[in-house]
């Protein structure tokens, strides 16, 4: 009986498609699916290259972000002069500036999104899990904040708090962009908390904090992780608007938005000043979107 039982179970495990010998965690399986998606991997490579180049740009080029050259003012891109992307009105190397700008833009994209992610997940899972009056209250707060025009709200925040500190810009964007995240997480939590494993966790006497941290959050993050990757380009773009309006990054630091803003002034006699930052911004946004799409397919293979 027992021996037969063991054999039966072994057979049952082996017969299950995708189950036999597949000892990868759910996250690992999603990762493997992601890596098979060509455009997503291309996006990942682009972002990685962009990040690495931005970090190591001082090694790649001897020129500094502030080095001015009176001989080459508004000089077009050329290999002979050594100014691959040309120079701006002050004779500063656009190549160096574009990558320094990349540091700021990528950092804003990642940090502001991380802040939005943390607030959104905590807020949304608490709201969804406890439900009732607390949920209604928390969601009405969300609705009220939603009603404010995002950009307008960020501009007010930045103006009030002062744009001198770049971290305040990060915080302001993050503090506004968590709303959608909180809604997604709440919705997912509402469905996950009905699952039997949450009931089972209650039945073994786990405290609410542990149920939230170990049973709810891991099961809802897969739904927001896609939104997170799509929020990064949105935040980069928001920072660009702010810089364009003069409220974002301040000189001597620069960002893609600021470069585009400055380039647009010289659009007619020095189009490269607009072209290169815009190209980098666009490519980055595309890359993040490809990664987001790839993640969505990887995390939910049924929904294609």
């Amino acid at each position: 009986m027992t021996v037969a039982g063991i054999d039966n179970d072994k057979a049952a495990v082996d017969a299950k498609p995708g189950a036999g010998g597949d000892s990868r965690s759910p996250a690992r399986r999603a990762f493997d699916r992601f890596m098979r998606n060509k455009s997503a991997v291309a996006g990942l490579i682009i972002i990685a290259l962009m990040t690495v180049t931005s970090i190591f740009v001082p090694i790649l080029s001897p020129k500094d972000i502030q080095t001015v050259s009176w001989e080459y003012v508004l000089s077009p891109p050329s290999f002979e002069t050594g100014y691959w992307f040309g120079t701006d009105v002050n004779g500063r190397d656009l190549f160096v500036r574009t990558f320094y700008a990349g540091r700021i833009s990528l950092a804003i994209g990642l940090l502001a999104t991380a802040i939005a992610f943390m607030i959104g997940v905590i807020y949304g899972s608490i709201s969804g899990y406890f439900g009732g009056a607390l949920d209604s209250f928390m969601m009405r707060v969300c609705d009220v904040l939603y009603a404010l025009p995002t950009l307008f709200f960020i501009i007010i925040l930045v103006t009030v708090l002062g744009a001198k500190n770049i971290f305040i810009v990060f915080m302001c964007i993050g503090a506004v962009e968590w709303l959608t995240m909180a809604r997604i997480v709440r919705g997912q939590t509402l469905s996950v908390k009905q699952k039997e494993y949450v009931e089972a966790a209650k039945a073994i006497g786990l405290p609410t904090s542990k149920i939230l941290a170990r049973y709810i959050v891991p099961n809802v993050t897969s739904a927001v992780i896609v939104y997170v990757t799509l929020l990064i380009p949105v935040n980069i773009l928001i920072e660009s608007y702010l810089s364009f309006l003069g409220l974002g990054v301040q000189e001597p630091l620069t960002s893609w938005g600021l470069l585009i803003s400055q380039g647009s002034v010289e659009m007619e006699n020095a189009p490269w000043l607009l072209f290169f930052p815009a190209l980098f911004l666009t490519v980055t946004l595309f890359a993040f979107n490809f990664i987001g799409d790839g993640l969505r397919d990887a995390l939910d293979p049924k929904d294609r």
């Binding site: 039982g5 299950k16 089972a200 039945a203 006497g205 405290p207 609410t208 891991p218």
Partner: protein
């Protein structure tokens, strides 16, 4: 006689006048009403009934796991201590330690993101000051107790790598980790195929033999009851209509509903072309219960009195209770 546990033992679980009601859009619904039952150490107590008879909700109330719109009233004593509507903190110290619950569907009762071993260790570490290594040893010990082959390998696996039967064993093992006095199993075999069902029941039978845990088996499968339960309660429309030792209920049913249930079990000797034996009609709408005996519209023995009063649960044979207006047949 059946090996019924001694009736002078203090009861592990004692429910008195347990009622569960749900606030709905169209008024309040009593899912469970006036349920009295006693479960003693070492006893296996079966609760049988149709879907919606309140059998699961009664024990969800015991565990304190009712849905948000559910309210429980009456009294539930676990080892002599009142636990009904106790604060969550008190319940968390009891759940998983003194009483455990096994859910119906093993496929969805384990969180997909944690390894089997981690999920199980969590219970132990939460409830006792135990080191991870000791927790691991205890988990392996229990996994072997529920006859999981290669327990060491299973420990590091994810739920999706296990079959339904294996997962149900893991659930049982998890429920047993802290050696509870009471184990409530809500249709533990319903979601499994027949051969695996038999193996799971075998594990419960082994538990009964080797531990002193009181087991409550909630099911709609009379075969499950017959194979391991000492005593049975039959529920209909939220009330217990018959209660007694398993043998008494099976061989001398006191309620027409029980008789109908027993008759509806198909037998291998039945004429395959004949219609299946069924209890006519539909389970009652809990929002609009028939006056008098709730079973009257479907009862073949209905009399005038049945439309008037709800029959009380009375002792019709020694230690065998039934709620019916019919005369006791000797």
């Amino acid at each position: 006689m059946h090996s019924t546990p001694r009736t002078d033992d203090p009861p592990v679980l004692e429910c008195r006048d347990l009622a569960v009601r749900f606030a709905g859009d169209s008024g309040e619904v009593f899912a469970v009403n006036g349920v009295d039952l006693t479960v003693r150490a070492g006893e296996c107590f079966g609760v049988v009934g149709e879907s919606g008879s309140g059998k699961s909700q009664a024990f969800m109330a015991v565990m304190g796991l009712l849905a948000e719109n559910g309210r429980a009233s009456g009294s539930v004593k676990l080892n002599g201590r009142e636990i009904l509507n106790a604060p969550r903190k008190t319940l968390n110290a009891i759940r998983g330690v003194e009483m455990s619950f096994i859910f119906q569907d093993p496929m969805s009762s384990l969180t997909p993101f944690l390894r089997i071993g981690d999920q199980m260790c969590e219970t132990l570490i939460e409830h006792s000051k135990i080191s991870r290594a000791d927790a691991r040893n205890r988990v392996l010990e229990v996994l072997e107790m529920v006859r999981i082959p290669a327990a060491k390998r299973r420990f590091g696996q994810f739920p999706h790598e296990l079959s339904g039967g294996m997962r149900q064993r893991v659930m049982i093992a998890q429920a047993l980790l802290c050696k509870p006095a009471l184990l409530i199993a809500d249709e533990p075999t319903t979601a499994l195929d027949v051969t695996v069902q038999a193996e799971i029941l075998d594990i419960f039978a082994g538990l009964k033999k080797h531990t002193n845990t009181a087991i409550v088996m909630v099911t709609h499968d009379l075969g499950v009851i017959a194979s391991i339960c000492d005593s049975v309660a039959v529920m209909y429309a939220g009330r217990i209509v018959e209660r007694g030792a398993a043998e008494g209920v099976f061989y001398d049913p006191q309620h027409p509903y029980t008789r109908g249930l027993l008759r509806s079990i198909p037998s291998i000797t039945d004429d395959p072309n004949a219609d299946a034996q069924v209890i006519g009609g539909q389970p009652p709408n809990l929002l609009n219960l028939p006056k008098g005996c709730h079973f009257r519209p479907r009862c073949e023995n209905a009399m005038a009195a049945c439309a008037q009063d709800l029959p009380p649960l009375l002792e019709r044979k020694p230690q065998h209770f039934g709620a019916c207006h019919l005369e006791v047949t000797p």
